[in-house]
Structure formats: structure tokens, C-alpha cells
């Protein structure tokens, strides 16, 4: 077993050495370096295009997905090796997208075979870019109270309503959305999960400006949008099951977000800033470093566990602890850099402000704590 894994590591290393363009080996973390793919994607360079193409052929844009749907069918150990080998040469991720992180896992679990064949391979190849239509002006923490409605008209749904906080809605090709298909049922039982092409007449988007400045968030409006019923994932009125499953994935993803600091030691980051830290600030930073190291081990442990058992509601802990920690890290960077971080130019302030959303998006910290107390600890309410 270990021998087979060693072989896999050797061939992976050799393949990456031969195929990863030098320009793609800077482990760049800034927004501009990310390849999101999609119908309207303009590659930043020929190297970026080539890297995506080569990785997609290997199935390594989505390494753990089945080969039939564009992945490479890697197990967790192999996936870990691939990640390690990519990190070893500083290779960028060839593609990032909500299709990979969110819709893909939901389709693999709830989609029909036809839906998987239709939607997954274009995600894996970076040809179609997805966005998520969950929140509404009146449905934030109380997500199940979504009011955007889809009325049946023969083989079609007619969708009317508004979504908010739709990341990259203005750049996405398709949206997966929660819509109300039964207004008389209890709120969790009247929701469906549907897929809508963003070019369908009646879909419009408008960007939202945040305290951190420009943002990927948009408002998305549906005005008599006609979309086939066959584009529903899961049963009609059972969309909440899909939504919950997907939220768990989202929570795991957000919890892992190290922001601009990535996996680097906070101590090293602060030292670089040439900050002569006061004892109080230094102590705060050490506390944060300790919690960061322990959180990283916890993410690994949960990922290993997810190989055999569903993490389920406990993912709320990852989301809660991971995002609160990320906010602390960014607060510390701001304090360490002092007035040097107060101009927009360095980017720290933008990053710091942006992290304030981490404990709101994908379910607030308070909602996470309620999920833990009720569903993990079994407390009443």
C-alpha cells in the first residue's frame, strides 16, 4: 500500500516537473492569479491556459471526483500526495470555482447520472463557471425562509424574486439557487434546488460595494425567468436536504481559508514586518499562533474522518472556529503593522475588512453555535 503510494508520489512529482509551466510555480495567493474559468474567461497568460488544460486532462482539477465526471478518482491519501507535491514546487491551483467546491459535491451526492454527465465535466475543465443563489434580503441566518418562487408551467419553472450576496454573479455562467416551490408547506419543506443559466432572459445582476471596497458580491434578480424543471437537483420540495449538504461543504471550505497569511507562521509574518512587538501584542500573537496550529491539525483530522464517515453538523465547528481565528489573525497583522497598514495601498486593510464577513457568510458564528448546541450536543430548542 505504502509502496504504491510512493510510486504515485514519484510519478506525480515527475509529471508536475515536466508539465507545470514555470510561471505557474510562484504559489501566488492574490486574486489576480486565480483562474476561475468559464465561458467568458480571459486567461491571464498562455501558461495559465496550458496549466489548466494539462491538469484537466489528468483529471487533477478535481482529483477526487470519479474519472467518468472529469476527475481522477484519487483516494484521500493520493489526493494528499498530489497537494503536497504541488506545494513542494509552489504550483498554483489550475482552477478554482464554486462548481468545484460546492455544486460538484452536491451533484455527486444528489444528482441523476444524466445531470452528473452534463454538468460535472465542464466544471472540471473550467468551461462553465457557477455561482450560488442562497441568501435573500429577508433570508439571511433564517435561510429556509427564502421567498424567491418557482411556479410550475408544464415542463418549466417560472422564477421570480431576488437573491443577495451572490458571489461573482456578474461573471458566472450558471447559478444554483434555492427557490420556493410550495408556499403552503412548512418553510423547510417547500424549497427546491434548481440550476439556471445566467443568460436566460429575465436574469440581471448588480454588484455590491463593501466596507473593504470592491467585492465579488452581487444582487441577482429573477423576473419571469423560464427554466426547465429537469434542471432541478433532488426531489421537488426537498431542496433543503441538498442545501444543508452543500452548506456543510461550504463551511469546511471557509474554515480552511487562511487568507493572505496562508499556512505561514504568524511569527514569521510579523517578524518580516520588522515590528518590535509590545509584550502584550506578542502574547496575543503567540496565543493566535497556537490556536492556528491546533486548528490546522483539526482540519486534517476531520478531512481524514470524512473519508469514512460524514462530518455532518460538526462542520459547524470548523466554520465557527476557523473564521473566528482568521479574523484574529488579520486583527493582529493590522496591529503589528500599525499606521503602515492604514493606507489602502498595501492590501492589508482590505484583507482585514474582508475577513469580517467570514463569520457571517455561509452561516453566522451564532448560527453555527446554535447548530452545535442543538444537533451535536442535543440541547433543547
Amino acid at each position: 500500500m505504502d509502496e504504491a503510494l510512493d510510486d504515485f508520489r514519484a510519478t506525480t512529482r515527475a509529471w508536475l516537473a515536466a508539465n507545470c509551466p514555470p510561471e505557474m510555480r510562484d504559489a501566488a495567493q492574490d486574486e489576480d492569479a486565480i483562474c476561475w474559468g468559464g465561458r467568458n474567461w480571459t486567461f491571464a497568460s498562455e501558461a495559465q491556459r496550458l496549466w489548466l488544460e494539462r491538469m484537466a486532462v489528468k483529471g487533477w482539477t478535481v482529483p477526487t471526483w470519479p474519472e467518468a465526471y472529469g476527475g481522477a478518482g484519487l483516494n484521500r491519501a493520493q489526493d494528499k500526495v498530489l497537494t503536497e507535491e504541488m506545494q513542494a514546487i509552489g504550483a498554483r491551483l489550475p482552477l478554482q470555482s464554486f462548481g468545484i467546491w460546492m455544486l460538484g459535491p452536491a451533484l455527486l451526492h444528489f444528482g441523476t447520472d444524466a445531470q452528473k454527465r452534463e454538468y460535472l465535466p465542464p466544471i472540471a475543465r473550467g468551461e462553465v463557471r457557477w455561482c450560488q443563489g442562497y441568501s435573500e434580503p429577508g433570508a439571511g441566518s433564517d435561510l429556509a425562509s427564502v421567498q424567491t418562487r418557482a411556479e410550475v408551467d408544464g415542463d418549466m419553472y417560472v422564477v421570480n424574486g431576488q437573491k443577495v450576496w451572490t458571489s461573482y454573479a456578474d461573471k458566472a455562467d450558471w447559478i444554483f439557487a434555492l427557490v420556493r416551490t410550495d408556499r403552503n408547506a412548512p418553510k423547510h419543506k417547500g424549497i427546491s434546488f434548481i440550476l439556471i443559466d445566467m443568460t436566460t432572459p429575465g436574469v440581471t445582476t448588480r454588484p455590491i460595494r463593501l466596507i473593504s471596497g470592491q467585492s465579488p458580491f452581487c444582487e441577482t434578480f429573477f423576473d419571469d425567468v423560464r427554466t426547465p424543471r429537469a434542471q432541478r437537483v433532488g426531489d421537488e420540495n426537498r431542496g433543503w436536504d441538498v442545501a444543508k449538504y452543500l452548506l456543510n461543504h461550504e463551511r469546511e471550505m471557509i474554515s480552511g481559508g487562511g487568507g493572505v497569511l496562508g499556512d505561514r507562521s504568524l511569527g514569521a509574518v510579523l517578524a518580516e514586518m520588522d515590528g518590535e512587538l509590545d509584550a502584550t501584542l506578542r502574547a496575543e500573537a503567540i496565543d493566535c499562533e497556537i490556536d492556528t496550529l491546533a486548528m490546522a491539525l483539526t482540519l486534517e483530522r476531520y478531512k481524514d474522518q470524512a473519508e469514512t464517515t460524514e462530518i455532518g453538523d460538526a462542520s459547524a465547528m470548523l466554520k465557527y472556529a476557523g473564521t473566528e481565528l482568521n479574523k484574529r489573525r488579520h486583527e493582529l497583522v493590522m496591529k503589528a503593522k500599525g499606521s503602515d497598514a492604514l493606507a489602502w495601498e498595501g492590501g492589508e486593510a482590505e484583507g482585514w475588512l474582508r475577513t469580517k464577513a467570514n463569520s457571517i457568510e455561509g452561516g453566522t458564528s451564532e448560527v453555527m453555535l446554535s447548530i452545535i448546541s442543538r444537533r451535536v450536543l442535543g440541547l433543547p430548542g
Binding site: G267, A268, T298, A314, M317, S373, V376, L379, G381
Partner: protein, 369 residues
């Protein structure tokens, strides 16, 4: 390297839980305290018979040699019901120290430990905070041996152990001695500790020792002591996660049972969120502590992993017992309730082998602060 428990570890934990619930529930510690005792020799014999005393002793010396992660499994289960035993001092710390030295004396001592016939204490600290390098107890060379003079404080199990590993300052560094506690000139003064466990001050008034009493090499104590401290710190951290789980379990049960204003108090969001936060902390700490055991077993340098485990375990145990008492309200303050035992043991465990700040400083050094 996975932090998930192996099948063997799951079985070991289950067997340990079964035994401890019968032989050493919290009422066992309460009974010892009420009787003015800190230790039950019969309990340790039973643990030894199950291979626990030899958990880190090689099979050649009759040990079960299960490793540090397994020692952590046992320590965690003991912590859940605050089982008092010489496990950490003897089976973990002394056994690890003795394993660093290959000679007949060590082999014999390891065999005696595994058989449950020999117990040890670790005599390192002299002041109120853990700090091996602040050792002032002198070992002055004299003839073929040394004359020891000074005192040690907070020697865990120092009132009941047969022998002690004693850290002393020699001409060019620190030296570790392996001495019987009935050696002429050693006076043990047991203290009535808040956690009802054994700890003593040891006074060394011109104790004559020989070169044979040195464990390892003269002036090179850390070669033997460092691995022993790491093993002890990791196992103590594991015990503290057990303690935390025990206190937390009582707290969650109380949130469900206790009614005020006509509803279970666990229905109040203010308390729900505190319980949920505490549970999150226990999960994160569990990873750090499991990792320490795994790294020790791998043979890699475990300094960072061990300090991370002990630091997190200390902080989380502190939170768990404070929330435990507060959420229990008045009953949590009463001696009739067990929560106080958990709080007191958490405080003693926090200090033993280095508190949060001690380990945080170690981590800071290793992480570039």
C-alpha cells in the same frame, strides 16, 4: 500520519473505560481523600496486570510497549474519572527516562516498573513554576561520587514512590540521579494538595551518592530528561483532555436536566452558545494532543507538538472547569458535587510539567517570534 484512532486504540480505550468505571470512578478519588490517602496500591497492581505499567517498557523487560499514543489513550480515560495512580510518574516519565540508558540497571528497573513492583517520582522543580534550567540543588563531586544538597518542591508522587529521578547541578551542567527515596539524608514532606493527589517537598541534606546513581551521563541530564519530560507532558495533556471531557459531560447533562423558569436551562441561548464554544475548543485541543502522541511515536523531534498539546490542553481544561462550575451554579460549588474535584485537578495539572505560558514560549521560539 492520521490523527484518527486505530482499531487497537479504540479497543484499548473501551477496555480501559470498562475497568475504570468499575474500579476508579470519581467516587474512588473522593473515598481516598476522605480517608486521608492519595494512592491505592491494589488499583495500581490491577493496572499493572493489564499491561498499563509497562505501556512504554520494551517487551524484553516484560512490558507491553504500546507507545506514546496508547499511553495517551490510557491517560485520557483515567482523566475522565480522575483516577489517581502512579501512571504518569512511573509508567510514562520514569520508563521513558530509563529507556534512554542501555544498561543492566535500567533494564532491571524497567522490568520492575512493568511488573508494578516499583514506582518513581520526578524531582525537577524547586520554585513555584516549572523550570528545569533553574535547578540549584547541588551535586558536589566527592571521591567516587557526589554529595547532594538542596531541596525540590512539587514532587508529584514524592510521598509514596519508591525512587525518584533527581535533577542536580554539577560542575559543568545538569545531572540526573536515580535514587531510592529512603536513602540517608532525603526527607520527604508530603503536602495536602488541592487535587487530593500525592505531591511532596523533598529535602536533600548532604546525601551521599555514587557514580552508579547517575542516570545517563554526568553533566548531560537533558539527553535523558528531555524525552521523559516530553512523554510526561504529552500524557498529562491527554489526561487533561479526559478531565475536560468528564467535566463537559456533566455540564451538558446538567443543561438538559436542570429546570429553571419552567424550562431546561439548556434551552437558553446564552448557555447553549457557551457550551457549543467549549465543545469546539475540546475538538481543536483533541487534535493537538493526539498529534503529540503520534509525533512522539514517530521518533521525530516532538518539542513543538508536545508543547502545543500541553498548552491547548491546559487552556481548554481551565475553560471546561470554570464553565462547569458556573453553569452548575450553587451545586457546582458544593463539595458534594464532583465538579470541584475536576477544577482542582485541572489547576494542578496546569502547573505540572510546564503551564500554558511555559509551553507558549517554547512554541514562540520554534515559530520565529
Amino acid at each position: 500520519m492520521s490523527l484518527l484512532p486505530t482499531e487497537d486504540e479504540v479497543m484499548l480505550a473501551g477496555a480501559a473505560r470498562g475497568f475504570l468505571d468499575r474500579a476508579a470512578p470519581v467516587t474512588h478519588l473522593r473515598g481516598l481523600r476522605d480517608a486521608g490517602a492519595t494512592h491505592n496500591a491494589a488499583l495500581w497492581s490491577e493496572m499493572a496486570a493489564m499491561g498499563w505499567a509497562g505501556v512504554l517498557v520494551p517487551e524484553a523487560q516484560g512490558g507491553s510497549d504500546m507507545g506514546h499514543a496508547a499511553a495517551g489513550v490510557l491517560a485520557r480515560e483515567m482523566g475522565k474519572t480522575l483516577a489517581a495512580s502512579p501512571f504518569l510518574s512511573t509508567a510514562v516519565i520514569a520508563a521513558t527516562a530509563l529507556r534512554q540508558v542501555s544498561n543492566d540497571r535500567s533494564a532491571k528497573a524497567l522490568a520492575e516498573i512493568a511488573a508494578g513492583r516499583l514506582t518513581y517520582a520526578l524531582a525537577v522543580d524547586e520554585g513555584p513554576k516549572h523550570n528545569p534550567h533553574a535547578t540549584r540543588l547541588e551535586a558536589v563531586a566527592e571521591g567516587n561520587g557526589f554529595r547532594l544538597h538542596g531541596r525540590k518542591s512539587f514532587v508529584v508522587d514524592g510521598g509514596t514512590a519508591d525512587r525518584a529521578l533527581v535533577l542536580a547541578r554539577t560542575d559543568n551542567g545538569l545531572t540526573l540521579f536515580d535514587l531510592p527515596l529512603d536513602r540517608d539524608g532525603i526527607t520527604s514532606v508530603p503536602k495536602a494538595m488541592i487535587d487530593s493527589r500525592d505531591a511532596a517537598d523533598l529535602d536533600f541534606g548532604d546525601v551521599i551518592v555514587t557514580g552508579d546513581d547517575v542516570l545517563g551521563r554526568v553533566d548531560d541530564a537533558m539527553a535523558v530528561l528531555r524525552p521523559a519530560l516530553h512523554a510526561g507532558q504529552a500524557a498529562l495533556a491527554a489526561e487533561m483532555t479526559g478531565l475536560t471531557a468528564g467535566a463537559f459531560g456533566m455540564t451538558v447533562a446538567y443543561l438538559q436536566e436542570r429546570k429553571q423558569f419552567g424550562v431546561p436551562i439548556g434551552a437558553f441561548q446564552a448557555l447553549q452558545h457557551r457550551a457549543a464554544h467549549l465543545w469546539s475548543e475540546t475538538e481543536i485541543t483533541a487534535s493537538a494532543v493526539l498529534n503529540a502522541g503520534r509525533i512522539l511515536d514517530s521518533g521525530e523531534d516532538a518539542t513543538l507538538a508536545v508543547s502545543l498539546g500541553k498548552a491547548r490542553a491546559t487552556k481548554t481544561a481551565e475553560l471546561a472547569v470554570q464553565e462547569g462550575v458556573q453553569i452548575h451554579g450553587g451545586i457546582g460549588m458544593s463539595d458534594a458535587h464532583d465538579m470541584g474535584f475536576f477544577m482542582k485537578r485541572a489547576r494542578v495539572s496546569a502547573e505540572w510539567l510546564g503551564d500554558y505560558s511555559y509551553h507558549a514560549e517554547t512554541i514562540a521560539r520554534l515559530r520565529g517570534f
